[in-house]
Subunit: 207 residues, 2 copies
DNA sequence: GTCTATATGGCGATAGAC
DNA sequence: GTCTATCGCCATATAGAC
């Protein structure tokens, strides 16, 4: 839409693009703290210094705003993982790195933790988004572990499917404990430990 | 309070106790689907066939109702695990069994999944409840794995602390994927697989 | 592009009748 | 013990001025 063209850096629409971005950043923080239902457009508007009607000039309604926030974050995440990944084995190293980075982004961690459970309800506006997202993430993990299996680097008794599901589950669950009590768990260290346990590769949390 | 005495099965307070129970069960379902902030007292009241004022006759306010729901569920869970546990090793078998049983209790799984993430916010009324609950659960798991370690039945490289944290994280994360797409994961099978991977004990999902 | 004003409706909680 | 009625507040969304 408005993201790619030259029109966004100059000309009459420059300010609009900037305002949209500011709204998206504010909405991310609000939805991360309060979830979709409880986070209000007025909270978002106040954070960017305008009225709720002003926000609704840029996004048709609240659901459209949520979808835009999620799409924007997913795009950034996919790009980051792709940037760090050269082959299928390094995808898992990239994952550990991402977990480490996330330890300094509490709001974004909370956004996904809160919304992904809130969206388990069939009638939640982001239900489809998260069902698709998890299906894609499982497929991504299957490919990474399948590459290791072909080289005989999965521990005996470990299957591609259970390693894929287990890795995602562990990351999600670690986030809950970490959000409730940041001092209680070291997310990236625990993830590295798990990956080292199911493969013959050594993973480390530190860079 | 009103739970223990003979007064609850007969006499003038019998009906009150029944009504309280009905309200607690309705509230569980509402909070499970919508969380605390979005789940309304009117929804709870409609489900038990009375007005919201009627509900507030039995529970001082909405927060008191939430606390009662959580205390009631925790009590039932602790009792169930204790019933199934004879020594520290069997505690882990009981956990697998509990995961299997939970696969037929979607509402209760959702209650904890939704509320535990919603409650990561410092100002959430159930924040303290969940911080305490996770601390206690981690301690319970530490004791179970420590007993196995004393008998030399932990796999090399596995520590008591990481096994405790990892087991809880895996259970929580599996629930998210399962709630979003029940056909995509077998919670108890994956838990059994994980436990078999970190110990020298064989765990099975089936009874 | 942003505002104020407003329509419409849900919320938690209280007061008081029965 | 439960109801109806009500208060005060906040929500989303729209209409129309500037």
């Amino acid at each position: 839409m408005s993201g790619g063209g030259a029109s966004s850096s100059r000309g009459p629409y420059r300010k609009t693009a900037e305002t949209r971005t500011a709204i998206l950043e504010a909405a991310l923080e609000i939805f991360a703290v309060s979830g979709f239902h409880s986070g209000s457009l007025r909270d978002v508007a106040r954070r960017v210094g305008m009225s709720n009607a002003g926000v609704l000039h840029h996004f048709a309604d609240k659901e459209t705003l949520l979808a835009a926030v999620l799409d924007r974050r997913d795009e950034a995440d996919v790009e980051e993982v792709r940037r760090l990944t050269s082959d299928e084995a390094s995808a898992l190293h990239a994952l550990v790195h991402l977990a480490r980075v996330n330890e300094s982004k509490l709001e974004i961690v909370r956004l996904y933790a809160v919304l992904s459970t809130e969206a388990t309800g069939l009638d939640h506006p982001a239900h489809g988004h998260f069902v698709d997202r998890y299906a894609r993430t499982r497929e991504f993990m299957r490919e990474a572990f399948a590459a290791l299996e072909r080289r005989g680097r999965l521990k005996p008794g470990v299957t591609v499917e259970s390693a894929a599901i287990g890795t995602i589950a562990l990351m999600d669950g670690l986030q809950t404990q970490w959000l409730l009590d940041p001092g209680a768990v070291d997310m990236s260290a625990e993830l590295a430990r798990y990956l080292s346990g199911v493969t013959d590769v050594e993973f480390r949390a530190a860079i």
